[in-house]
Subunit: 453 residues, 2 copies
């Protein structure tokens, strides 16, 4: 096993070449017209799985974008690890803020730059390359299966059904996912929880056309003003959500659990500085780590309406819209959020405009206990490579399918992610440090060792 | 003079051909790159002035888009009427809502459709064609000057200076403008007041890049949420503006003046129905006519920020912005509005975001007394053609330069407009009924008669 470092060193140029080929494919799952591109990306993953040692791999149709399945079964009596990842990426906009093209990956400052460099093409590649090492060096101690989907960034609408229909094929003892960040290379962490999500689009419509703001301004309720008022009514100035019943199901943690989660050294000022703001804006009574980990949130993800070109156009817009999402914690559900959000809107939106609320995606939150065999193996592997025992953290992000895996397949998921908060995932200039990439491969190889001894 | 109807009838096809040539030129003043197009439109107006009977006409440079000046001086001892109009138009967006192309004018349902069909290419053409009739039929009873600018829709930033520098050339006894609507063909009106305008762009900036809304949501103040809260703080639910001192300078009208203004038959329900809304939204204690005529207003003209494409992108946007404008009444000024708006923003915007307020344009409000020689001549001309004495109305729109004319040139302006509220000016499918076009020409020709007898 100690040979893994050498193996990475010998093959790293090829690893990057193969990864770059995948990053070059603009597999943005949110773009409905992307069929050819999505199948090309899936096919690329399939080919890499085969060349890395899978005994079989295939691209499988779903109700949405295709899934790639691959496996290496060495002995049915040995444990099986199911690796989950995704080949789809977030939209790259705004393009003009990228220093290099999002789909032309480059190495700069010892980091890979490109959309998907971390999330999740880069992290998925660590899994594939740890697997390659174990196969090529004859050190595989268990069976391995790969499930790589193309809809994670749009909340995996087809994967749950795919899992139900392919339950036997996907049977395993544990699911291993690299799609989360750690605090830093100096302070490794393991993600023991994920927030869920409820994502909506709200459209408010007033007049049947844009109106002259002089001839009508003062006599017509302006949909953009109404939208602003509605959004303002969703949170108070301290960031607490004002929708009735919003906090009703939120799981409260014990003081001990909160203390453990706050053990990681976390400098709020530095965290704020890293993203260019003067200070954070956290819910009263909670630390920033808690605010993004164990507390739900609500954010406008996008807003638009009326004239947005240069100069001044004096219209009263016919409509305005916003994308609004909530991050959920146990035991909140997207279904409940939709119900209480709808009821609240019904109450607060005046009757001289009309509105439409469309749920765009949803996923349940997830937690795993720190004191399990799987997490212990992951912790041992990370300690081996990073020289330090990792601390548990609750991630603010969402991988909705992880909750589905538990429900449908009855399998627990270990989140061994090696990203950093500075990787700018979902943002312009997404990147992934080479050191994280290599140490990730190494740690994942060690996971199998500790999991099977 | 009675011959004017015949003249229009004989020449109307040519009138429309000439007008369509001007509408075909997309002279959108808000587009900074439009230099060639704006000069082409100015040149087209100049040519039409000459062919219609001006003894001289020229395109004159300004600090912005050019001005067209033309004149027919028959006798320096006779009165002089200065006609003001504009050849620039509002941006046509959203294109997809136009039934026919905004810059390919057509006649449909006895209306001219195209950007500028009413505002102001169509209305300007009525002036030019009334002038043509008087010249060609040797009935001109006074001197006539034309001042046609290309920056009205962006608040005439260069015209005031142009007037100061060309005071002598522009000397006149009255200014005549056709750039306003009447209530209906059955109930003609004369505009005796215009609202002013103060138009701003407000940008709120948070983090230095779009952030992952899961990893940061709950810990970072979201600029789009803040923008919504700021906008919501500008008006109460009844539509009253909440900016301190906003109403301080508003001129209050006497009960008699208010009664006269409310004499026009105005069906609020029909007005709401015409624009596709269930009911109007007017300030408490005022009629709808008063709300758009003698009361100031505040509207969001455009709003944008974050992800606005299809599907769900889970970002917390780096910034959000809005175009916000106020319509002003005597004695409000754009300068005062900027000062009180800035002071209010300073007070309400939290210090973990930054903001920037840019004034995009401004103009003072204007009033003219109903009981003057000029207005009486206009009223007599309209009564002659429409068979009914016109009532005074205060328009909600702004022609900022009208206030400047009074200040710089010391000349009063008569607003003889022949548009309708259904003309969709500034909106998709702008149109101008042929009947209004022809009756407008006729009425304007009669104005000179009544003004000089």
């Amino acid at each position: 096993m100690e040979n893994v470092k050498n193996y990475i060193d010998q093959h790293k140029e090829r690893f990057l070449r193969e990864l770059f080929n995948l990053i070059r494919i603009p597999s943005i799952s949110a773009v409905k017209e992307n069929k050819e591109v999505m199948y090309r990306a899936a096919s690329c993953v399939k080919d890499v799985l085969i060349s890395s040692g899978a005994s079989q791999a295939k691209v499988m149709d779903t109700d949405g974008w295709p899934v790639v399945y691959g496996e290496k079964i060495i002995n049915p009596y040995l444990p099986t690890v199911l690796i989950y990842g995704h080949y789809d990426v977030q939209p790259p906009e705004p393009y003009e803020q990228w220093i290099s093209h999002p789909f032309k990956p480059v190495i700069r400052d010892n980091k890979i730059f490109g959309r998907g460099a971390d999330d999740d093409k880069g992290q998925l590649f660590m899994q594939i390359k740890a697997f390659e090492f174990l196969v090529k060096e004859n050190k595989l101690p268990c069976n391995i299966k790969f499930l790589v989907e193309g809809e994670e960034e749009i909340s995996s609408p087809s994967l749950k059904k795919f899992c139900i229909e392919n339950k036997k094929m996907l049977s395993a003892d544990v699911i291993l996912v690299s799609d989360t960040p750690m605090l830093s290379l100096a302070e490794p962490t393991i993600t023991t929880g994920l927030r869920g999500i409820a994502y909506f689009e709200l459209t408010i419509t007033g007049p049947d056309r844009d109106l002259h703001s002089g001839h009508y301004g003062g006599a017509v309720n302006n949909p953009a003003n109404v939208l602003a008022t509605v959004i303002a009514s969703l949170k108070d100035n301290d960031g607490a959500v004002l929708i009735p019943e919003f906090y009703d199901d939120v799981m409260q943690l014990s003081p001990e659990e909160r203390e453990l989660l706050n053990q990681v050294s976390f400098n709020e000022d530095q965290f704020a500085k890293n993203i260019g703001i003067r200070k954070l804006h956290v819910e009263k009574g909670y630390t920033a780590l808690e605010s993004v980990g164990i507390r739900p949130s609500l954010d406008v993800n996008g807003i638009w309406g009326g004239y947005t070109g240069q100069g001044a156009k004096t219209i009263l817009p016919a409509k305005a819209a916003a994308k609004i999402s909530m991050r959920l914690v146990p035991n909140q559900t997207p279904e409940k959020m939709k119900a209480i959000f709808s009821a609240y809107l019904q109450k607060i939106i005046p009757d001289n405009v009309t509105y439409h609320l469309t749920p765009l995606h949803g996923g349940n939150p997830y937690v795993i206990l720190y004191d399990t065999k799987e997490i212990k193996a992951a912790a041992a592997a990370i300690e081996k490579v990073f020289g330090k025992k990792p601390l548990p953290v609750r991630s603010g992000g969402s991988i909705p399918v992880v909750a589905d895996f538990e429900e449908v397949l009855g399998i627990k998921t270990v989140l061994m992610g090696f990203g950093l908060h500075t990787d700018a995932i979902h943002s312009p200039n997404e990147n992934f440090p080479l050191e994280n990439f290599y140490k990730g491969i190494e740690s994942l190889a060690w996971f199998y060792h500790f999991y099977t001894i």
